[in-house]
């Protein structure tokens, strides 16, 4: 009996806590960020100034894009995030599933300052790109001789045993790199066999990792000379003192959208919209370029020449990037994951 009573009182306590939780929710936002120096910069540029300006609390949960999407799916009936950030195209999948809410251009004060491509999907639930990353080739300037020029150069025998690739099934940058390698080998989004065949030919003389810290470790230990990955990560390696350079290969770099999205079915839409608007303001866009070499999506950003040279700056440069159809990515990704895992497994 007493046990039953205690269970009842415990349940009541839990219920009280839950309700007080939702009462607090009006001035609390729950968001995700990607951890490490990224999250530190995120806090400095967006989260902390936002908390100060609106006198609210922002609760940050560290989770990569794939994990965040998995959580959003699991919480479909009762979402726990207000705003989610995605990199590499998962926002389209989430929007198609109805997990994200549409935004009207009139709801964002900074809408008119954005490059059109970066806000093209907001009325379908695909949040604005608050910046973009560019996928190209990272190489060790002391070891990789000659320097790579083309995506196909990762097969150059001069780099044998020192090519580093990133898992396309668990890492969205890895997936975009794989799609580009597929494209330069004559494949399409409906047929990635040419890309997989090309990669299969490299398996014996390369390493495949799944997380970005492993990329840094492999460059630091001298195991990696050439790796398809992102421009911003190259700057992380350079800051760590490694002799690394980033190039956009002659076939073009790949645009990796990084978006800030409104979660559907949450009570504090207005505050969440303010956060999104705050994320895309010129000051933040500029800060991301200066701190971590992400490319701005706000037209009014003015960068110093040194920094402008290390990001994709301006509409003309951005237009040269290769971008892949996000709807096709969403539809085909489960199949690609399987085909990829099968192709690389020993």
């Amino acid at each position: 009996m007493t046990i039953l009573k205690r269970i009842t009182s415990f349940t009541a306590l839990a219920a009280v806590l839950t309700f007080s939780g939702s009462a607090l929710a009006e001035d609390t936002l729950v968001i995700n960020s990607f951890g490490g120096s990224y999250e530190k910069t995120h806090r400095k540029l967006v989260i902390e100034p936002f908390e100060k300006k609106y006198n609210v609390t922002v609760k940050v949960i560290t989770a990569y894009s794939s994990d965040t999407l998995a959580q959003l799916r699991a919480q479909k009936e009762n979402p726990q995030f207000d705003v989610v950030h995605f990199s590499g195209g998962l926002e389209t999948i989430a929007a198609t599933d109805g997990l994200l809410a549409p935004i009207k251009p009139s709801e964002l004060e900074n809408y008119d300052q954005m490059y059109p491509f970066s806000v093209a999907g907001i009325e379908k639930g695909i949040g604005p790109m608050y910046k973009t990353a560019v996928i190209g080739l990272l190489y060790n300037t002391e070891k990789a001789n000659p320097a790579p020029k083309s995506w196909k150069d990762i097969a150059n025998p001069a780099y044998a045993n020192h090519v580093l690739m990133t898992d396309a099934a668990s890492n969205t940058y890895g997936m975009l790199g794989m799609l580009m390698i597929n494209k330069v080998n004559g494949g399409t989004l409906d047929d990635i066999t040419p890309g997989l065949d090309f990669i299969k030919g490299l398996l014996d003389t390369s390493t495949i990792v799944s997380k970005s810290p492993e990329i840094q470790q492999n460059f630091a230990q001298g195991n990696a000379w050439v790796a398809p990955y992102a421009q911003d990560y190259a700057s992380t390696l350079i800051k760590a003192g490694l002799p690394v350079k980033f190039i956009q290969p002659e076939e073009g770099g790949v645009l990796a959208p990084i978006t800030v999205n409104l979660v559907a079915g949450r009570p504090n839409r207005d505050l969440a919209l303010k956060f999104i608007d705050f994320s895309i303001r010129a000051e933040a866009s500029k800060g991301w370029a200066e701190a971590l070499r992400y490319s701005p999506t706000n037209k009014t950003v003015e960068l110093s020449p040194e920094i402008a040279a290390e990001v994709v700056y301006g509409e003309e440069q951005a237009g040269k990037l290769v971008s892949f159809d996000a709807n096709k990515i969403g539809a085909n990704r489960p199949g690609w994951n399987e085909a990829w895992s099968r192709a690389i497994s020993k």
Binding site: A70, I208, E214, Q217
Partner: protein, 281 residues
């Protein structure tokens, strides 16, 4: 009457917290998983289906993943028994302070986070790491070698963390036996190894069995160490399940893989328990 009710009531009260926890944290999710594994995609109406299981059995890729998982778990378990039994024997017959030091050394790996410990292995096993350097300096290998992304690397890193479970359970059953029987055996003329084979080993069978069951169950479901040390080219079951959930978003298939993993583990574990029990009699 009153006596009978308290005789039942007391054990029931003691078992309740554990039972509630088990129901909430194991049986409920396991049943949920079982139902997920036989429900088709919502787009097709979400009716009963065996397609997830059919996919596993008609696909040699997943059979390969399952085979690797079981093969590695068996190798890890056998290695733990081979290292763990002699170690436990020495510990049980050592003076108190030596035993304390050895126990500390054995459980030390459990006191570090799995991620930090695994990154330690990355540094030691990786190209240009300690092992590669030692072998190269000794002139045994010409080039830099790496145990990263190999099955041997997975076994080494897993044995390190699972060894305490084996050693401590065997130590428990050896301590219960006490040294007197071994002394008697030596007095009666048996040699050192003969005593181990005929006295210590048979008497510590219960400890070896429960220890190796623990090790096997932990290694078959382990995820972080195989994925960091083994890498993406050596997928194991737990990693494939995680990939299905977070990468491919195919929960039905992930649930089917989990049910099969659980089932296959039970099929191996239950006969093992029966054999060891009849062996003890």
């Amino acid at each position: 009457m009153k006596q009978a009710s308290s005789r039942l009531g007391e054990p029931a009260a003691l078992i309740t917290p554990g039972l509630i926890f088990l129901v909430l944290a194991f049986f409920f999710p396991a049943l949920n998983m079982l139902s997920l594994s036989v429900i088709g995609p919502a787009a097709d109406g979400g009716g009963f289906t065996l397609e997830h299981y059919a996919k596993f059995f008609t696909d040699d890729y997943y059979a390969g993943v399952a085979l690797r998982t079981f093969r590695l778990s068996i190798i890890i378990t056998v290695t733990c028994v081979l290292i763990g039994f002699p170690l436990a024997l020495i510990m049980s017959r050592s003076p108190g302070w030596v035993r304390s030091v050895l126990i500390m050394l054995v459980i030390l790996p459990l006191m570090t986070s799995v991620v930090i410990r695994t990154f330690g292995w990355l540094v030691i096993l990786g190209p240009g790491g300690l092992i590669s350097w030692v072998l190269e300096t000794a002139g045994l290998v010409g080039n830099q070698i790496s145990l990263m992304h190999t099955e041997s690397g997975i076994v080494i890193a897993m044995v390190q963390v699972l060894l305490p479970f084996q050693v401590l359970t065997v130590l428990g059953s050896l301590n219960r036996v006490g040294p007197e029987l071994e002394e008697a055996s030596r007095v009666m003329g048996a040699g050192f190894f003969q005593t181990i084979r005929l006295v210590s080993l048979p008497l510590s069978i219960p400890g070896i069995v429960s220890g190796s069951l623990l090790v096997f169950a932990l290694s078959i479901s382990s995820f972080i160490t195989p994925s960091l040390v083994g890498g993406v080219r050596l997928p194991v079951m737990a990693g494939s399940i995680y990939q299905q959930v977070t990468g491919s978003f195919d929960w039905g298939f992930a649930a089917a893989l989990s049910v099969l993993l659980l089932g296959a583990t039970l099929v191996l574990v239950i006969p093992y328990l029966f054999v060891s029990r009849s062996g003890r009699r």
